[in-house]
């Protein structure tokens, strides 16, 4: 089973290669992966229906207690089958929708990556692994929304979705960690077995953080604004991520953690309030839109709100309604999104006033949309009708029955009107001239909407099958208690049925007079521009402004300032510690042992130093410094460290050469520093030198501070088969450090190259040929960057 999830990631990586081989048929070939997974998941169905939980696990990061473990029960399986089933149809659909797109292989990479991540999310048996998959879905969503990356709108929408869901993801991580601490385990099976955490001290923060994560992901008010913007993505992406699967991840999480966090008054209040508000606002905004995809996006927001509301109510009846609605919504909304994409694809527009009478040109698309739309509007005998029945049933049995039922009623009417707008106006009425002459969509773009619409009908006709195979396992998985969740058609006139009939009647009126209704709402509602999206933009602008200021403040661009800050900080921290901890006087014992030739070398170094500081010629200063360097090398020789001495000589020589090369380019030396600044710099330098000296003396005075030296001396030959201990340490004992160091070295060389060669040109004309000549080198650098990255 682990293999099944990981196979998705392998499939994602293989997608571009598949595209290279399959070309026109990539969609059909790539659909085999989700189809195979679907078949595999279906084979688990009998076991799950019997009430079993299918699990598997393998160690991933044992030191952190992170396992890749899978946990598949009725809830996971419902989601997993939706993900793979709709995934297969979306893959096929995308092959037609994006036909001939030059980057189609990359598209399949992203969308398969998403599918694998989403599958991992719903089947994960470990909270931390679940979080990682959660983030992977956010990232693949970012890549897919920004698919048309040459459009600024798409880039902004992608960033918005990433920031909102990514911010929520951070909260979720913290929340899941708290849940894990409170429950004593990150393994889902153990966490769920532990039961409710309601009495735990960490319950309140854990709940708040998890809810934040779930609400941002599932586009709940006030975070709903990213979802309509995400419609900048191509239709297959909107279908798959932003209606059928990813946005339901938050709902999934709430359902998953229901036994642990749910059922308390806080839980009910938060979910009912947020879900209810989201449901009404989403529905109200939906009917004000004219863009087909935005209409659908807002109805999705409304549906997500309803799902959260139902899970908030939390009675078995409400959970049953939630699962039924989830299934029904996934089926009809995916069909409608695909159909809307087909309309856009075939006509070139997706604005309601610009469309009409397409039923003759696109009869099959029209049929699929109408059936799905009827399901959306809640007309029997489609699954949407049943879902609406049980939603009313749940709200009447929940808290504040009158208010919540009224809200649900209003939202249902508005959603039904929106469904009517999408399913009726583009296809019926007078044909309207469109930018492209409309044709029926190709088979690859028909199979999805038709199949999903038909499934919606089938689910509505066979409530017993849906109850037995989908709802009962899913609901008992959420509550953790075995039980039957049965849905059936009403046989007598109940309050619920009366409400349904009223909904249908009112929405028919609404569809007929939709333009007037929309205008009325537009007047009553402040609309999108003043919503939380405005706050988001202001926050983003503010952040950029702050970053600007901060950068200007701390990044002066002068090396000397950076060095000064580093040295002074070091001096204060280390110097302060030394003063506080080390007794003075004891350090300077043994100075009588200094020999004459050692003192001579010291004198030489001091002389070089004075020369370097006082000289008015840069070359002389460099020579002075190199005197210091070579003298250091001599000290290494005297204290029998030939390796260090060799290296120091070589380094010193090369440094001088490099210095000379730089000096050659600098302007003439001139003294621009004031006396006061010089005094300050001298003070800093002397203090830093003094601290280093004392530090070295302290280290030496500490007897036996290093047990490592002895270890290296003893083990160099037997363990590492080398007599040169220095080299053995470098390439063997501490080889990992060396690997890091040479990587840094390479990065530094690239930095130098960039500083020298890639600065802004002052004379663009005469440098064009030079730039052309340099291009191969730039590519060469990129190759290295990639190498380093590996």
């Amino acid at each position: 089973m682990l293999l099944a999830v990981l196979l998705g990631f392998a499939g994602a990586l293989a997608a571009p290669l598949v595209h290279r081989a399959a070309r026109r048929f990539t969609g059909w070939v790539m659909a085999l992966l989700p189809l195979g997974l679907l078949a595999y998941l279906a084979s688990l169905l009998p076991r799950v229906v019997r009430g079993e939980t299918v699990t598997a696990s393998a160690a991933w990061v044992p030191s952190l207690g992170v396992q890749i473990s899978l946990y598949v029960d009725g809830l996971s399986l419902l989601f997993a089958m939706l993900i793979t089933g709709i995934g297969a149809l979306v893959m096929i659909y995308a092959g037609g929708y994006l036909k001939g797109h030059p980057l189609l292989g990359r598209f399949y990479l992203y969308i398969t990556l998403f599918m694998a991540s989403m599958l991992g999310l719903v089947t994960s048996g470990n909270l931390l692994a679940l979080f990682i998959f959660w983030e992977l879905t956010s990232i693949s969503s970012y890549l897919l929304i920004g698919w048309k990356h040459e459009e600024e709108k798409a880039r902004k929408a992608a960033l918005m979705a990433l920031l909102v869901t990514g911010g929520g993801g951070l909260a979720l991580l913290a929340g899941l960690v708290l849940v894990g601490i409170a429950a004593g385990s990150f393994e889902l099976a153990a966490v769920l077995a532990g039961g409710s955490l309601a009495g735990h001290a960490l319950y309140a923060p854990a709940l708040a953080l998890v809810l934040l994560g779930a609400f941002t992901k599932s586009a709940q008010f006030p975070f709903h604004f990213w979802l309509p913007e995400a419609m900048a993505a191509p239709a297959p992406v909107s279908t798959y991520l932003h209606s059928a699967t990813m946005v339901k991840a938050g709902v999934f999480l709430l359902a998953r953690l229901f036994p642990v966090l749910g059922g308390t008054p806080v839980w009910t209040a938060a979910l009912v309030a947020v879900g209810g508000v989201t449901m009404v606002i989403g529905a109200a905004l939906a009917v004000q839109q004219t863009d087909l995809k935005r209409v659908l996006a807002y109805t999705t927001v409304a549906a997500l709100g309803a799902l959260v509301l139902l899970i908030g109510i939390g009675t078995p009846g409400a959970l049953k309604a939630a699962m039924l609605y989830l299934l029904g919504h996934a089926l009809y909304k995916a069909a409608m999104f695909m159909a809307a994409g087909s309309v856009d694809h075939e006509t070139g527009v997706r604005d309601l006033p610009l469309l009409g009478g397409l039923r003759r040109a696109m009869p099959l698309t029209a049929a699929a949309t109408v059936v799905a739309g009827l399901s959306n509007a809640g007309i029997p005998p489609l699954v949407g009708f049943l879902a609406k029945e049980y939603i009313y049933d749940a709200t009447l049995g929940g808290p504040l029955p009158l208010l919540i039922t009224a809200a649900a009623f209003a939202a249902n009417v508005l959603v039904a009107v929106a469904a009517g707008m999408v399913a009726y106006y583009p296809f019926f009425g007078r044909p309207v001239e469109t930018p492209q002459h409309p044709h029926e969509a190709p088979p690859s773009m028909l199979i999805g909407p038709l199949l999903l619409a038909a499934l919606g009908l089938a689910a509505g006709l066979l409530p017993a099958v849906v109850s037995g195979y989908v709802l009962t396992p899913a609901v008992s998985a959420i509550t953790g208690a075995a039980g039957q969740a049965v849905v059936k058609y009403p046989t007598t006139l109940t309050t619920v049925l009366a409400l349904s009939i009223a909904t249908i009647a009112l929405s028919l009126v609404g569809v007929a007079a939709y333009r007037r209704v929309a205008r009325g709402l537009a007047l009553a509602n402040p609309g999108e521009a003043f919503g939380p999206a405005r706050l988001y933009r202001a926050a983003l602008d503010g952040l950029l402004w702050l970053a600007d200021r901060l950068t200007a403040l701390i990044q002066s661009g002068y090396l000397r300032v950076y060095l000064g800050v580093v040295i002074v900080t070091f001096g204060v921290v280390v110097g302060g510690t030394l003063l506080a901890r080390v007794p003075a006087g004891s350090l300077f014992e043994g100075w009588q042992d200094i020999r004459f030739h050692e003192a001579l070398l010291l004198g030489l170094m001091l002389g070089g130093l004075v020369m370097a500081v006082l000289s008015r010629s840069r070359l002389a200063a460099v020579v002075g410094l190199s005197v210091v360097g070579y003298s250091t090398a001599m000290i290494f020789v005297l204290f029998s460290a030939p390796d260090l001495a060799m290296t120091q000589f070589a380094i010193e020589t090369l440094t001088v050469i490099l210095f000379v090369l730089v000096i050659y380019r600098l302007p003439r030396f001139s003294d621009l520093t004031t006396r006061l600044e010089k005094a300050r710099d001298a003070l800093i330098a002397l203090a830093a030198g003094a601290i280093m000296t004392v530090l070295a003396l302290v280290v030496i005075a500490e007897p036996g501070a290093s047990r490592l030296a002895g270890y290296f001396i003893e083990n160099s030959l037997p363990l590492a088969k080398g007599r040169n201990i220095v080299n053995v340490i470098l390439v063997d004992f501490r080889g990992m450090d060396t690997l890091g160091e040479i990587t840094v070295l390479a990065a530094a060389a690239i930095g130098v190259y960039a500083l020298m060669r890639l600065r802004p040109r002052e004379h663009p004309d005469e440098d064009q040929t030079a730039q052309a000549a340099e291009r191969p080198q730039v590519e060469e650098e990129q190759a290295v960057v990639q190498e380093v990255g590996q």
């Binding site: 290296t647 090369l654 050469i657 490099l658 060469e780």
Partner: protein, 136 residues
């Protein structure tokens, strides 16, 4: 300003110094030396050549582009670590052959690693040197 003497001397010193740098490299495990010093000696040899003959001739004498050297060095060092991983031991486990080579001793992954260090150091210094010394 070109000095004929220096230029001629550099031409003969370059191979000698390169040979010496390789010697320093391979003896490193048992005697003073190693990849880092070896790389620096080689770089110094080329630096001498740059000073004597200029950047372009030096570029031509250097058998590969500096970036290639850096990349190849890093790759070699990484591979030497992966060898251990490939046979189920921890990353960077040192593995040794059995054959004895004069002056080198037994060859093993640490030597490969050292060659990687050598190439990176040479590549880095040459990259910086070429960047700084290139005539505009």
């Amino acid at each position: 300003m070109r000095s004929l003497i220096l230029s001629t001397a550099a031409r003969y010193l370059l191979p000698l110094l390169m040979l010496f740098s390789l010697f320093v490299l391979v003896r490193g495990h048992n005697e003073p030396g190693g990849g880092f010093v070896g790389g620096l000696v080689a770089a110094a040899a080329f630096a001498l050549y740059v000073i004597a003959n200029g950047v372009e001739p030096a570029r031509q004498v250097l058998w590969a582009r500096p970036a290639t050297l850096m990349g190849a060095g890093l790759a070699l060092a990484l591979i030497s670590g992966l060898v251990g991983l490939a046979i189920g031991r921890p990353f960077m486990t040192a593995l040794w052959g059995t054959a004895e080579i004069p002056a080198v001793g037994k060859p093993g992954t640490p030597l490969l690693f050292d060659v990687g260090v050598y190439l990176v150091v040479l590549g880095v210094v040459m990259k910086i040197m070429f960047s700084l010394a290139a005539e505009e």
